[in-house]
């Protein structure tokens, strides 16, 4: 399918979710998207992708349960939280489906209709994702080989040696990338 049509469908479906708050409608949408994931045979990747996000869904439900209309621990708040978490789930699943079924160059083509400077920024961001992932993996392995214990209860102590080089390297890379783009005649303004 044309990446532009896919992007348009993604935008339309996501916007629909903002306006329709009907629980049954959202459930139907969730089931439909899940069926599509099975159709495309992306269930394994999907589980890997969505698993860490369950933490966010639980926070959304808890926050709504205990802060809804100023009532603490209300059923209405819980229901509202579940609805919000479900909408978030569908939204993330839609994004996953779009990314899974579109090649990286297809993703770039989907932004073709935008002004060049904007589409370039989006392409740059997309291209950065696998590179940052690879870099993170390298740093993790380097720190593991130096005996860093990821099971330590002190999160700050555990992740500091990973985040610092990751940020430093990413910033350094961005700076050089900007220079390289300018050297090939790119003007952001």
């Amino acid at each position: 399918m044309n990446p532009k049509i896919k992007l348009l469908s993604l935008i339309l479906l996501s916007s629909t979710m903002l306006f329709f708050t009907n629980f049954i409608f959202i459930c139907i949408l969730a089931v439909s998207v899940l069926i599509l994931i099975f159709v495309f045979g992306a269930q394994e990747n999907f589980v890997k992708w969505i698993k860490p996000l369950f933490f966010i869904f639980i926070i959304v439900i808890l926050l709504n349960t205990f802060t809804f209309s100023g009532l603490s621990g209300s059923i209405a708040g819980f229901q509202f939280g579940v609805l919000y978490a479900l909408r978030l789930f569908v939204l993330m699943t839609l994004v996953f489906l779009f990314v899974q079924t579109t090649s990286v160059s297809g993703l770039g083509k989907a932004f073709d209709f935008m002004p060049r400077s904007i589409s370039q920024v989006l392409v740059l961001t997309l291209a950065l994702i696998p590179q940052v992932t690879e870099l993170t993996e390298k740093i993790l392995n380097a720190q593991k080989s130096r005996g860093l214990n990821f099971r330590s209860p002190n999160i700050f102590r555990t992740y500091f040696p990973v985040l610092v080089p990751l940020f430093a390297k990413t910033l350094d890379r961005s700076e050089h990338m900007a220079l390289a783009m300018q050297a090939r005649g790119f003007e952001s303004g």
Partner: protein, 245 residues
């Protein structure tokens, strides 16, 4: 004259990097720039295409003229048509989603004509046929370096500057890159290479700039610079094998 530098000084805040550099590079020269780490080689390369002083801030004095244009008074895109700069690490500059898009990036920026033809030709020149739709991130390091060179070649600049183009490459890829550069030089392009491997410079460059702590320690024909073994040893630069005897 391809590049004329007169009394160039450049300092980053709190650190002087280039000191009183005067250098003339003729058209169709193959110039090697070498020196120990931190001697100012990369900073000098940034002066060739106007990134210094137009984009990288610091204290700049003296003058750099590239193909007759004063880099202080010219915009970077204007200079980019004349000077192509290949950065040291390909991962710093490759960001497009396919090899084809990566090469056409500069051409679109400079609003050049015959983009498809130029892309095709530069891909052929570096031997990346068949990789047009591949993501740059997924090709080998040698191919990435070739892609960086192709993306500069497509812009057809008269001067090509390469910052340590073979630092991450194996022997075969290194020789491939240098053969491409040699061919371009024979076609009339001015090639400037920053390189630690003095054996390569001795084999390919006709002139060599030896930098020491931001100053030119020696500039001249390769054999003249490399035969000064005492100076090379003093600066921590490897004496090429043929001069060791």
């Amino acid at each position: 004259m391809a590049i004329e530098i007169k009394n160039l000084n450049f300092s980053y805040p709190g650190k002087t990097v280039l000191r009183n550099i005067s250098l003339d590079i003729e058209k169709a020269d193959f110039v090697g720039i070498t020196g120990s780490t931190g001697s100012g080689k990369t900073t000098l390369a940034y002066c060739f295409n106007g990134l210094i002083p137009n984009s990288i801030r610091g204290r700049f004095s003296g003058s750099v003229r590239v193909a007759g244009l004063d880099t202080r008074k010219s915009k970077i895109p204007e200079l980019a048509k004349r000077v192509g700069l290949v950065f040291q690490d390909p991962d710093w500059q490759l960001f497009s989603l396919s090899v084809r898009e990566e090469i056409s990036f500069g051409l679109l920026n400079l609003k050049m004509e015959n983009i498809e033809k130029r892309v095709r030709e530069s891909i052929k020149m570096v031997g990346l046929e068949g990789y047009e739709e591949t993501e740059p991130h997924k090709i080998s390091q040698g191919q990435k370096q070739k892609l960086c060179i192709a993306s500069v070649l497509a812009m057809e600049p008269d001067i090509i500057v390469l910052d340590e183009p073979t630092s991450q490459l194996d022997y075969r890829s290194t020789m491939n890159i240098y053969r491409i550069l040699e061919r371009l030089n024979k076609e009339g392009k001015t090639v400037i290479v920053i390189e630690h491997n003095t054996d390569l410079l001795d084999a390919y460059a006709n002139k060599v700039v030896l930098l020491e702590n931001g100053r030119i320690a020696k500039y001249g024909p390769a054999e003249q610079v490399f035969s000064d073994k005492k100076l090379l040893e003093k600066l921590g630069v490897k004496v090429p094998e043929v001069y060791k005897k």
